[in-house]
């Protein structure tokens, strides 16, 4: 599925970046752990490497 947006989510107990909020083009939202073994995480890195694609960072 094609990625629409990616946003950083911060752990409210540690104030550290802990998970991605991934929204697909079909509107489905999922949370993606920061783990290289996760294929959605891999897809996010590939998507973010393309010019024009930016990960939203709302801050802690």
């Amino acid at each position: 599925m094609n990625i629409e947006t990616v946003e950083k989510i911060y752990d409210i107990y540690t104030n550290t970046f802990s998970v991605y909020k991934l929204t697909y083009a079909n509107g489905i939202i999922c949370n993606v752990p920061l783990n290289e073994e996760n294929t959605d995480y891999q897809a996010i890195q590939e998507w973010a490497a393309i010019d024009g694609n930016n990960i939203i960072d709302p801050g802690a």
């Binding site: 409210i12 939202i29 999922c30 949370n31 783990n35 073994e37 996760n38 959605d40």
Partner: protein, 364 residues
């Protein structure tokens, strides 16, 4: 006490595990995500129906299929389900970069007994039942994802819309050691169509470095008519040069094996993204700060920390849970391969119930 080994004598020296079939869900009996999905074509690479079976598509194909878990099976073989691709929009003139296939990926840590990349490497035999409307030559491949190596073999559909059993042996590969980890090492492919970029010259029938043009050479175009169907079941990949009878597993064992890669909270037969059955939901109670626990641990430990989809009870909206009868935006946080640390419920109310469904995806 002496231990007697029961099995194929020809394999007596192979450290074959009790699960001799490398394929998971080869009988297509598990379909946790859905049993039928329409409009499968351009932009739809991924898992749709039968567990562990992934669709790959490349190029902007005009072809579309309905993918389903079918009850059309070979008579008298013990199978109840098959995997079906039914062409609903034809593509009679494939662009060079178009390709579609069905494939399954395997963790390297489960394949060390193949001894691939050593002088003692094992041959592999692939057997399956297939039924296709379009007669002619079809291609199946093994791909070594760790070392970018490939081999292909053909099978022939000689009778239209008739179940046929096929057996294909792949030579041992003495080059390219498979990683001993949970990443994708070996992959098995069934081609459906391929444009000239991957369908020219002669098929690469011996192990070697992957050559795109020789990946699917000779493959017919299953998408050239809306009359075309392609069904498969009883898929088995095993060590050796002969195919043994399909190894049926108990339903619970088969499902557990699939849940290592994908699991959800939905009742059997209810489809994530479609079902609004309250019985699909889990319930937990919010902590005083309004956030909530997840019902840990997962039913089955997962291959890797999974991606998580949450929906409120009775709703198909994603990224929310029902907190005290109000749907609120929610994120899963501190995700591991055994459980989830907590649900971050936006403006959640403490002491309230949280009702939600979930999907966990840790596919290769």
């Amino acid at each position: 006490m002496a231990i007697t080994r029961i099995g194929n004598p020809a394999l007596a020296n192979v450290r074959e595990p009790n699960f001799r079939n490398i394929i998971i869900n080869g009988d297509m009996s598990q379909a946790q995500r859905a049993t039928s999905v329409t409009g499968i074509g351009n932009g739809n690479a991924g898992y749709h129906t039968c567990d562990r079976w992934k669709l790959h598509e490349g190029g902007a194909t005009a072809a579309e299929f309905t993918q389903s878990q079918s009850t059309d099976v070979p008579t008298g073989q013990g199978f109840a389900k098959s995997f079906k691709m039914d062409c609903t929009t034809a593509d009679t003139s494939l662009a060079a970069d178009e390709i579609m296939n069905i494939y399954q990926r395997f963790e390297g840590q489960n394949l060390q007994y193949l001894k691939k990349g050593t002088s003692n490497a094992e041959s592999l035999t692939l057997s399956f039942w297939v039924k296709a409307t379009k007669t002619g030559t079809y291609v199946t491949n093994l791909y070594d994802n760790d070392n970018n190596r490939a081999i292909g073999k053909t099978y022939t559909i000689s009778s239209s819309d008739t179940w046929e059993k096929k057996t294909i042996t792949f030579a041992a590969d003495t080059s390219g050691v498979l990683g001993n980890d949970n990443a994708s090492s070996l992959e098995v492919y069934f081609q459906l169509f391929a444009g000239s970029n991957q369908n020219t010259g002669s098929l690469q029938t011996s192990w070697g470095t992957y050559v795109a043009a020789q990946w699917a050479s000779g493959q017919v175009n299953v998408a050239d008519s809306t009359s075309n169907n392609w069904l498969i079941t009883g898929v088995q990949l095993e060590v050796g040069t002969t195919a043994s009878d399909f190894q049926f597993l108990p339903h619970d064992i088969n499902k557990k094996r699939c849940e290592r890669y994908y699991q959800n909270s939905f009742d059997v037969g209810n489809i994530p993204g479609t079902s609004t059955d309250n019985d699909d939901a889990e319930l937990t109670t919010s902590w005083t700060d309004g956030n909530a626990p997840f019902p840990n641990p997962y039913r089955t430990e997962m291959r890797a920390p999974p991606s998580v989809i949450l929906r409120p009870r009775g709703s198909t909206t994603t990224g929310q849970v029902n907190n005290g009868a109000t749907n609120r935006s929610t994120s899963a946080d501190q995700i591991s391969n055994k459980g989830i640390g907590y649900l971050n419920v936006s403006s959640g109310t403490g002491g309230q119930f949280n009702a939600f469904t979930y999907e966990l995806n840790s596919e290769l």
